[in-house]
Symmetry: C2
Subunit: 180 residues, 2 copies
């Protein structure tokens, strides 16, 4: 990604957090993690994250989603033989999130995926999260999500994040593409 695009995405994320009445420090605002997964289409596929804490026992993040932005399908595999894959709880703080997990596909799902990406979205059981709603995902479970029309803020509480281990259904995706 170009640094300019990263800086602009951080500003958009900060504005959504402000709308959601979620306070972050100026230093956190400058360090919002921005990813377009290397595809250069951040308005559709992207992830903006404020990492509050990530230690060897637990992790807490605020995920900001631009309007209709998608976090593509992936899973968190076991980290070595001693640690199960990352387990995570998503709690909607603001806006609306359409989360998809394995199971009976939901007819007429609320998410909208551009046709060119559709083959990389394989689980379609829908969980709608509105402010105050939450969902806990078991380790190593395929999932993806999209924000509704005004964007969303989603708290993630989890075991340790080891993003480099994530397995993406679309093999082109990189969790943290190089910034230049």
């Amino acid at each position: 990604m170009k640094l300019e695009g990263v800086v602009q995405a951080r500003k958009r994320a900060a504005r959504l957090l402000d709308k959601a009445h979620i306070a972050i420090t100026p230093q956190e605002a400058e360090n919002i993690e921005v990813s377009d997964f290397g595809l250069g289409d951040i308005n559709n596929l992207g992830l903006l994250v404020v990492i509050y804490e990530n230690n060897d026992r637990y992790c807490a993040k605020e995920i900001v989603l631009l309007p209709r932005q998608i976090c593509p399908e992936h899973r968190h595999p076991p980290a070595g033989w001693k640690e199960a894959g990352k387990q995570e709880t998503f709690r909607c703080r603001w806006g609306e999130v359409f989360l998809y997990v394995p199971g009976e596909p939901t007819p007429n799902p609320l998410a909208k995926i551009p046709a060119r990406y559709k083959e990389y979205f394989t689980v379609w059981k829908e969980v709608v999260l509105r402010p105050g709603d939450q969902y806990t995902l078991s380790p190593d479970t395929l999932h993806w999500f999209q924000a509704g029309d005004k964007g969303a803020v989603l708290s993630e509480f989890s075991s340790t994040s080891r993003d480099e281990n994530d397995i993406w259904t679309d093999p082109r995706l990189q969790r943290l593409p190089k910034i230049d």
Copy 2:
């Protein structure tokens, strides 16, 4: 505690969460964990908690503090020989929190403790948390905190909570007194 007092405290907590723009479900509002530590003085010593998730890997809670309410001094010891004491990150979401940890006592601390409880407060290094500020506490470390004049909402991200293990400096305290 009397059920009537618990119900009233839950309503006060829900109002503060509303002021802080933090959404909880009606079911969560009905289940806010209320403790006066068995001393019957909840306006001074008390803890109101929305437990979002507590599993065998991580825990996330919203702690609501009434104006000037104190969570008394305690620590989280190891749970058996395999698990270190609870590690926790406090993040202020709304209001102001005065947190105290071991170290050089802060001159003129902002907390105010009623004289009758003072002997049970032994650590006085002050950390002031305002919205967006956070502090991570090592396992098994003495700590206590008080809200400022308008109350506070504090997110707690942590390893698994095992409240029954907590060790309180004031031996009279019970984390979850009986409700009748």
